[in-house]
């Protein structure tokens, strides 16, 4: 589990994949394409980051995608009806965080298992999104300052990349260097031990779930701005891919535990796969098949080291 291959096997598989695409997929290495990949994965990576915050405190948040969609239509509605983009951004982030706090209350206050609580929140958020929009997406002309958030660039670096890196750095610093992060880790690893050591487990769990909501809100703002549209189920398909990124990340760096760099690398691997296979002209259904095969192969690489370690299951 703690050998080199266990920690970096998946990562190495990612690098192999990168080299493969660099050799076989035309234009893969172009700056434009590489920055495209990072832009493309940014929502997945942000949502995954949020999911991993909740997972770290041992709660599964299945609502983040629907919360993200709800935030997106709220932002879309506000910008579209001519409100100040700053207000729209604020409301979007607020709705996300609020939904996360609600999850936290359901889990710690009403003691509903997080899987059920977040499925319920997801259902409600989905209904609300359709109610706000009547099923129609907000499209059309958008305030240009708002669009800059997701489409602009600073010194040639796309804003999406900047937000993504900033969010990852903050999350990483929080987890590794601050007391809050340490306690999140402790609660996730052994909540009863943490409670007996005087940690307020409920508060920490609420924070983990609220951070997931916050990430959904931020992703919603950036997504709306970047796509210049807000639909009631815009983030639905990101749910499984974001979770996949987190799980893939859990096979790297700190095996068995959600972690910030792992989630980012996981998202990059998934994004790279989609991109490289399209560049290589692979049929659309083969992409799904290959995605599955490659995930299995890379994780098997990192876990093959486990097989050697005795025969514990």
């Amino acid at each position: 589990m703690h050998g080199w291959l266990g920690r970096y096997g998946t990562c190495m598989a990612g690098i192999i994949l990168f080299v493969f695409f660099a050799l076989c997929a035309p234009n893969f290495l172009s700056v434009l394409n590489l920055s495209n990949i990072v832009k493309q994965i940014s929502f997945m990576a942000l949502l995954g980051l949020g999911f991993s915050m909740a997972l770290l405190v041992s709660e599964l948040d299945l609502s983040f995608a629907n919360i993200c969609s709800l935030c997106a239509v709220c932002v879309g509605w506000l910008v579209h009806t001519g409100h100040d983009p700053a207000l729209a951004v604020f409301v979007g982030v607020l709705v996300g965080t609020g939904a996360g706090l609600l999850n936290g209350f359901l889990v710690t206050g009403l003691r509903i298992p997080s899987l059920i609580a977040t499925l319920a929140t997801a259902s409600v958020a989905n209904g609300l999104s359709f109610m706000v929009t009547d099923g129609v997406a907000f499209v059309g002309q958008w305030d240009s300052r708002f669009l800059w958030l997701g489409r602009g660039a600073v010194f040639g670096v796309p804003t999406l990349i900047i937000w993504l890196l900033a969010a990852n750095l903050v999350a990483w610093f929080m987890l590794k260097q601050t007391r809050l992060g340490f306690r999140m880790l402790a609660v996730g690893e052994a909540s009863e031990a943490a409670r007996l050591a005087g940690v307020n487990v409920r508060t920490i769990k609420v924070i983990g779930l609220a951070l997931s909501g916050l990430a959904a809100g931020i992703a919603a703002v950036l997504m709306t701005s970047s796509l210049a549209s807000a639909a009631p189920n815009s983030a639905a398909d990101l749910m499984l891919t974001a979770i996949a990124a987190v799980l893939l990340g859990m096979t790297m760096f700190e095996p068995g535990r959600a972690n910030v760099p792992g989630t980012l690398v996981g998202a990059i691997i998934i994004g790279m796969l989609g991109n490289g296979l399209v560049l290589m002209g692979v049929e659309y259904y083969f992409q799904d098949i290959l995605l599955g095969v490659i995930i299995v192969a890379s994780v098997a690489l990192s876990s093959s080291v486990l097989k050697k370690a005795a025969f514990s299951l």
Partner: protein, 257 residues
């Protein structure tokens, strides 16, 4: 002697099971109070109530003559009551120093207003505590699951020490320890006592009990069956007393208030 802790008519039900049926115990400031009894007598339950891990069903707990109701272990800890649990309550995948410092992290200021974890300090303090227990675990970064049963018990004891509490509650702290390590823990209890710390000790080892305890309380089926001063009591008498639930008669059942 002043009572630092008084338990009055304490009861605790687990569903239909009555683990404590009205327990009165006084703990004197600075003493080592041993709590003995058969398996299932209610010893761990009693100390879980004292440590805030479980809420009592009814009764009263007075600390320094103030009635208290812990709503979590945090309350007890911040009022100076630290506990070593029988099942150790460690996080197996976290490292030794992380386990020792959960809930009482050391920090230093990175910027004004932004304090970050002081891992160096936590590592070195952890080593220090373990050395006091005669355990040489140099690599405090290894996860707890890598250590043997006795080593884990030492980690749990180190964890309780870092609180520098006024009352230390120990639930069978030496059960998994070897001969030498047990001796160290007994010496540690003596030292804590010298420093004025009050110790509540649960142990099935009668030799250990008569060696360090000032007073002994014997629980039986959730009630205080007998209690008395430890001085002059032989280990075998104590074993007999636990079975019969009667204080060894030749000593005289002194029940100091």
């Amino acid at each position: 002697m002043a009572h630092i802790l008084e338990l009055r008519n304490l009861t605790k039900h687990y569903g239909a099971v009555q683990a404590l049926r009205g327990v009165d115990v006084d703990v004197h400031e600075g003493e080592v109070l041993a709590i003995c009894g058969d398996n299932g007598a209610g010893k761990s339950t009693l100390i879980k109530v004292v440590s805030g891990a479980h809420a009592m069903t009814s009764g009263e707990l007075r600390l320094h003559d103030q009635p208290r109701r812990w709503s979590s272990p945090h309350d007890a800890l911040s009022n100076g009551v630290a506990t070593i649990y029988q099942d150790l309550a460690l996080a197996p995948r976290l490292s030794v120093w992380q386990n020792v410092f959960i809930g009482a992290e050391l920090r230093h200021n990175l910027l004004p207003g932004l304090s970050v974890l002081d891992k160096t300090a936590m590592r070195s303090r952890t080593r220090h505590y373990l050395q006091r227990l005669n355990q040489d675990m140099d690599d405090v970064d290894r996860p707890v699951s890598d250590f043997s049963g006795g080593q884990r018990q030492a980690i749990a004891i180190a964890r309780a020490l870092r609180w520098q509490a006024r009352i230390v509650v120990m639930d069978e702290p030496t059960a998994a320890l070897g001969v030498r390590e047990t001796a160290r823990v007994l010496a540690l209890i003596h030292q804590l006592k010298r420093e004025g710390v009050t110790v509540m000790l649960i142990s099935h080892n009668m030799e250990d009990v008569v060696q360090v305890a000032d007073r002994i309380v014997i629980l039986k089926a959730g009630r205080v069956a007998a209690q008395g001063v430890a001085r002059g009591v032989a280990a075998s008498d104590l074993a007999q007393a636990i079975i019969t639930g009667k204080w060894p008669s030749m000593i005289g059942a002194t029940v100091p208030a």
